[in-house]
């Protein structure tokens, strides 16, 4: 981990986060930003490996930065760090391409542990997020009109990915699912990463279609 973006508007929390990140990744360069504007400026100049992004910022939502990084720096891992633990805040961030999320009030140890896991390629996935992902893909396959099918990249989950999602939605942890499906931790983690990737791709396609539709309506 070389370049890490830290987007957080509260100075105390930012300092605390910076200390924590340095503890996990001692050799990294941490670039701090307090506003979206600053963060976007940084992304044009620096190639990041990891971005810790707060959602509620004075000049908008951190989702903008997540989407920007996903678009221009696909290698950068975006992790949302937020005080909001509800799906209404988390899911849009995941759709925009966030790789995971951390809740700010968690203990230093827990956050450090999760950061390590995420940087090791194990994204977190809660049952409620899994349910949202399932209903997202279900709604998409239902609502897709035939004439638009070709216009939209074909994004659907494989049976295995579905299986993993369903089990997460029922409250099983990723290691438990690995045991149940006789798969390694890494394989399960890869499935989850793949699910996030597909969520992002299909969400972007959906957004593009929606924009096109609105454009058509306007003209």
């Amino acid at each position: 981990m070389n370049n890490i973006l830290l987007l957080e508007d509260l100075p105390e929390i930012r300092a605390w986060m910076k200390a924590l990140v340095l503890q996990v990744f001692p050799k990294s360069h941490i670039h701090e930003a307090a506003r979206i504007h600053d963060a976007l400026e940084l992304t044009t100049a620096i190639k990041f490996d990891l971005a810790l992004v707060d959602l509620g910022l004075p000049d908008g939502s951190g989702v903008t930065v997540v989407a920007e990084l996903r678009e221009n720096q696909p290698e950068a891992q975006s992790v949302v760090v937020t005080i909001h633990d509800d799906d209404d805040h988390l899911f849009p961030a995941l759709q925009a391409g966030a790789f995971g999320y951390l809740l700010k009030e968690q203990s230093r140890e827990l956050i450090a542990e999760q950061l390590k896991r995420m940087s090791g390629g194990e994204p977190p996935l809660s049952p409620s997020i899994a349910r949202r992902v399932i209903s997202h893909f279900a709604a998409q396959s239902r609502s897709k009109p035939p004439q638009q099918a070709h216009a939209m990249p074909h994004v659907s989950l494989t049976d295995r990915e579905n299986e993993v999602l369903l089990r997460v939605a029922k409250g099983y942890t990723l290691p438990e699912i690995g045991v149940q499906l006789s798969l390694s931790r890494h394989t399960i983690a890869d499935y989850v990463k793949q699910i996030y990737r597909k969520l992002n791709v299909s969400s972007r396609a959906e957004a593009a279609l929606e924009a096109q539709r609105l454009g058509l309506f306007r003209s």
């Binding site: 509260l10 929390i13 605390w16 009030e105 203990s107 809660s126 049952p127 029922k170 409250g171």
Partner: protein, 609 residues
Amino acid sequence: MPTRALFLILALWAWLVTGAAHAEALTIHSALSINSNEAHFPTQGTPAPVRLPDDWAASRPDHDGSVWYRASFVRPAGLAPDDLLALYIERACSNLEVHLNGRRIFSGGRMAEPTARNCHRPQLVNLPAVLLDQPLNVLDIQVHGSALRHVSARARAGGLSVLRIGPASEMKALYEQREFWSIRTVQIIGITLIALGGFLLILSWINRSEIFLMYFGWLLIGWTVLSLRVWWPQWPWETHTFEIVVCSAFPPVVAMAVQFLLSYAGVRSRPVAIALLLQCMLVPISLAAVGADHLFTSASAWFMLMAAELIAAIAVYLWLAWKNHRDDFWPMGITLGCMGLLVMNEIAMQYGWLPRLAVQPLNFAFPLLLLGIGSRLLQVFGRALQAAEVNRTLLEKRVQEATAEIERNFAQLSALRVEQVTEKERKRIAADLHDDLGAKLLTIVHTSESERISTLAREALEEMRLSVRGLTGKPVRLADALADWRAETVSRLGQANIEADWRNPVDELEQQLTARVFVQTTRILREAVSNIIKHSGASHCKVRTSVDAQHFGLLVQDNGKGIAMELDGKLDRGHGMSSMKHRAKQLLGQCLIESGPGYGTVIRLTIPL
């Protein structure tokens, strides 16, 4: 209905034709006749014998004016001496006077021009008993009439029918029967037609789009005016003028009939209208121009033309009705067919191809058919009115339904809007709380030197978030809640290296938890898991969930060192046992804790659904 009317007409006609045989009556078939304008049977000149009925067109084609007839009769035998006698004359055209044994006993009206016009009217002459004193009674009859070529219709050419002498009552019955059909019927139907025609005119005036009603109304009225020629005897014109006036009255009526048929069939033709109008003007002009001697020929030609127009219009109407599958094709077809036949019959009589009937069917059958069509039009109009009423009622109902629907939608929309605004406001408050209070608490969590304060702040933050979610939260499916709890608990225990064994019911659970129940139960469970991690020293934790119709239950069991019961409730040592119980009680459930040193701890939570 027209079929029935047709049968009725035929039956009446049959009765009319057959009801004329009278045993005691004396029928005089021959007479002496002489052309003379004198006031009495002329003494000069030689009367010629003539057979009755005497049709002037055959016997004296060029004669205009007066003809004297003389017939002798003996009082019929078999009659009582005091029986009154009467003379019945079926037709004396245009007018007559009767002398019995040299005494004038009857006059039908003016004998000089303008003469009384009684061509269509039968005559009944009572023979005064005092004058019947001779063994052979002499009957002198003066008939005033016109040559066929000076009139426009064969029915108004001069002539005298057979003479019948018989008992007064019998002759009167005969007279009344014939008079009824020739005159009275025409009058009665005329009145009816006028009423119906006026009614239709009013309808057409109210309802401008149905112009055929107007044509038909004028047709009825026009026909009635025309029928005046049949029964009104006193016209102030001499024969030539009278005939031209009568002829000139036909074209407007024909025009109305043709226009009615065309417009009823949905055809509007300007050339036809113009032609009909021209015809109305041409008929009197041409008849006046050709002169008196060619009146009959020209009028007959015009009648033929007008009959052809009428029949053509009937054909056009019927063809269109057939093509458009109009449901009144058959009734109208039969009625109009009868009309066509009547008109052709009339034309045939006019040209002398058929014998002239004493009662012209055109005069009473044609208006009857008109009456039939008029009733039909009224029926159609009435039905349309009824249909319109039904439609109006339906429409009103639909409008009411639509209004109700709109009101309902509006109410729903308003409710939805209130809900949306409320939800938005809730979210705003929640966001404010997070941004403001949340940020401050978070700062305390991560900057406080004291672990205790940091923990308190974290818990306060959690409280705040749960409270906010309690405000904004929607009901949670029990299955989802169990999955969330399981994931969190297993993950936390796993991080603490405690083996977790949590099994949820395999059934599909459709029950819902209110946001409040979900939040509180989450707190209770967190507290229990925190206790296990912090204080129990357990290596294994078993969780079982159960659901029945009214409750769901959580059983959390660890194999730790347990809690000394005497401590519970007094010191609690941060175990939060009392707060767990308190929260369960708030949810109207219960939280039972069984524990003893070395036995581990069992927590049984039961919450009503």
